[in-house]
């Protein structure tokens, strides 16, 4: 079974070109952080309440990315809120994406191709060996959104991190997403980690807008 982190990264791969797509680059970085925290929660290593995060079990999971984060959480006792950890892990966003891509390549789900654009710029692509795995993720997401029944825990988590970084647009068309907006919001709200990820993205958007705004002297 793929980790939540691998599923989010796989969802961001363009099935036609193998390029990594992102409608909101910074949002995606926060989604990766959310995915790692969900993976640790699903592995029974951490638990959260409305604000804080607790380490339940320090024993390694066997996944190098998760174990690196878990070991760091065990060391940094000064950071104990969900928000603290989202901001802290956010700094490792490039590692998270790279490690998830490497794991997907190792599992034979993606291939790695490197080429030059205009003979100079390196372009990396990750074509899928088969779209079966990505399709499986998309079907689960679509089902969780389209139906009114309670989804499986993993699917609630997946919707709630795919939404804030704009990845749901690759699963369903905009009109259908608009019709199911209330359902999506409801699913996103169920998990503390998702609520904090959404808040972090909103805060970052605000900061970037302020930085981009013309200064009046």
């Amino acid at each position: 079974m793929l980790t939540m982190l691998e599923e989010v990264v796989l969802l961001a791969v363009d099935e036609n070109t193998g390029g990594l797509r992102s409608t909101r680059e910074f949002g995606t970085a926060y989604a990766l952080v959310g995915a790692v925290l969900f993976d640790l929660a699903l592995a029974g290593k951490i638990d959260t309440d409305t604000e804080t995060i607790q380490i339940i079990d320090r024993a390694p999971t066997g996944n190098a990315t998760l174990d690196g984060i878990l070991a760091e959480m065990a060391r940094r006792l000064d950071l104990n809120t969900v928000q603290d950890w989202i901001e802290h892990i956010y700094r490792r966003q490039a590692d998270l994406e790279g490690e998830a891509l490497a794991a997907l390549i190792q599992q034979g789900i993606l291939r790695h191709e490197q080429s030059k654009r205009l003979w100079v710029v390196d372009v990396e692509r990750f074509p899928m060996t088969s779209n079966r795995h990505q399709q499986h993720v998309k079907v689960r997401l679509a089902e969780a959104i389209r139906t009114d029944s309670i989804p499986d825990t993993r699917d609630i988590m997946l919707v709630s991190i795919a939404e804030p970084c704009g990845l749901l647009g690759y699963v369903m068309d905009e009109a259908e997403l608009a019709r199911r907006r209330d359902r999506i919001q409801m699913l996103c709200n169920l998990e503390t980690i998702s609520r904090k990820v959404t808040r972090a993205i909103a805060r970052l958007d605000r900061t970037l807008r302020l930085q981009a705004a013309p200064k009046i002297i």
């Binding site: 951490i46 638990d47 409305t50 607790q54 989804p151 169920l190």
Partner: protein, 105 residues
């Protein structure tokens, strides 16, 4: 750690939960509620003596509610303490579950 007691009252199978529904207790909570909804048509989870619920505890309740949907059983969460109700409110759980201030029986 939780303590679970169960009894039938006026057609409802009442699962009363006492203690802290955290990661340590989540499997036990989900197991008790799941077994109840799979065996009884009307199940009330009495949370009056539940002091605390974490995300893992919340997921356990949600997955029990999911099992109730599959089993076509009626499932209600009742009498949550103020602290637990606050968590339910923040999560918007009332959109997914029937939450009653008192036991329906």
């Amino acid at each position: 750690m939780i303590q679970v007691t169960q009894e039938t009252r006026s057609g409802w199978y009442v699962v009363a939960v006492r203690g802290r529904a955290d990661a340590e207790a989540a499997d036990e909570l989900e197991g008790a509620l799941r077994a109840a909804v799979e065996a009884h048509p009307k199940v009330a989870a009495d949370f009056a003596a539940l002091d605390y619920i974490s995300s893992a505890g919340l997921r356990a309740v949600l997955q029990a509610a999911r099992a109730a949907q599959t089993a076509k059983a009626e499932f209600a969460v009742c009498s949550p303490s103020a602290r637990v109700k606050k968590v339910f409110d923040m999560s918007g759980l009332h959109h997914v579950l029937q939450i009653y201030g008192e036991l329906p029986c």
